[in-house]
Symmetry: C2
Subunit: 106 residues, 2 copies
């Protein structure tokens, strides 16, 4: 058992977006990602893992297999295994997302 | 790819707490759970799955291996595989939680 206060996870950095880990096990992790305006997560692909983003604060552009989706606070999106995915904060406000990733275990 | 507006997931029912599925794959699901005051999820155990709860609205009592933890909006808790876990809404307000569960794949 472990508890996290997600409202406290605000680790912004001028150099790049930041990840703050909440939980991790053998089969999943949960993080908070913090993006200053203009910061992004480069699109990438996990062949054997699904990732869910949930927007905590602000708005972001989520790029899934090249298609762009603007999500606001309270929206969620999944990038299933094999789908290229990235995030851009094109807004003038800070963006925070919850992230959950689950991967295939052996 | 799929998108969900979590703010719209408010499927309360007087008979019991309700689950509203957001996403599901071969290795994980994501739901919203909606509890009226007094409703609960009976403690149970998954031997090969980890579950994360994130409180969207309200407050709840999360019981992990018999220990009670009161969480409010913006708090998260993990019940790792093998840990008995349940939820009670002891408050006078509605409780909504995000839920993420990841399980061992074969």
């Amino acid at each position: 058992m472990d508890i996290a206060d997600v409202t406290d996870r605000r680790t912004f950095d001028d150099d790049s977006f930041q990840k703050s880990n909440l939980f991790e096990t053998d089969r999943m992790f949960s993080d908070v990602y913090c993006f200053e305006p203009g910061q992004s997560q480069t699109p990438h692909t996990h062949e054997n893992a699904d990732k869910v983003y949930y927007v905590l604060d602000g708005a972001g552009t989520f790029v899934i297999d090249g298609a762009e989706h603007t999500l606001e606070e309270g929206n969620a999106i999944i990038a299933a295994a094999g789908e290229e995915h990235g995030v851009r904060n094109d807004s003038d406000e800070r963006l925070r997302t919850l992230v959950f990733m689950a991967w295939t275990t052996e």
